[in-house]
Symmetry: C2
Subunit: 134 residues, 2 copies
């Protein structure tokens, strides 16, 4: 128990061997705050393989999900939050019908290693076992 430590451990993280002395906020908590909620992580998951439009994202959220489609209202809010935090960027084309593309921005790309770790974990089937989604 050192005086200064984050949830990830003392000055030097056991998990990574990295010096965490300069970090104030637990990364795990922050991660939850940033991509917590029902859809944000899934949205980034969809965007990781390329830009997508509003409607496309909505439809993609059905694949691999638990059935219910996201309502446009919420997709709009989620995207706006992700944009405000620099995780995704928005590109509107002045055509009719309106066309808006979303893609991963810098802060979003920075999350890809985490996403990859999640996918690797998922590839073992552990998640389906835990949730009994055989």
């Amino acid at each position: 128990m050192t005086a200064m430590e984050t949830c990830s451990g003392p000055a030097v993280s056991h998990l990574t061997g990295l010096d965490m002395r300069h970090i104030r906020l637990c990364p795990a908590i922050a991660f939850n705050q940033i991509v917590g909620g029902r859809y944000k992580l899934h949205i980034l998951c969809v965007l990781h393989r390329g830009p997508a439009r509003f409607g496309e994202i909505g439809r993609s959220l059905l694949h691999g999900g638990l059935g219910k489609p996201i309502t446009p209202r919420i997709l709009s809010r989620e995207l706006k939050e992700l944009e405000e935090r620099g995780l995704v960027s928005r590109h509107a084309y002045p055509v009719v019908p309106k066309k808006v593309e979303y893609r991963l921005a810098a802060q979003g790309e920075a999350l890809l290693p985490i996403l990859a770790a999640i996918v690797r974990w998922g590839a073992t089937g552990a998640h389906e076992q835990i949730l009994k989604v055989a």
Copy 2:
């Protein structure tokens, strides 16, 4: 756009190069369902460096957190859920006052690579930048 694909991409994930054909549920969604909420990830973070007792965990959640302590009621609920899902294991010692130790179980250990990725991400300060926690 193949017929069978998860949110992580088509049959073979771009992100990891792994074959995902046998996976039904998007790992990202499952991850949220399993360790979503305010405390679960943080609890695993605390346990990753060794067993801890009920009270210890509660106190540890203050470090690196956003100030407020978790109430015993909630800590109890969270731990029970994590236990039911096989992420942590519970060991009660028949002493007075009661002593109960929690530690990572198999399914919890399987999450460590993800936790490590989150800590590495946090070590860059990206999370504090996004949340403006200068």
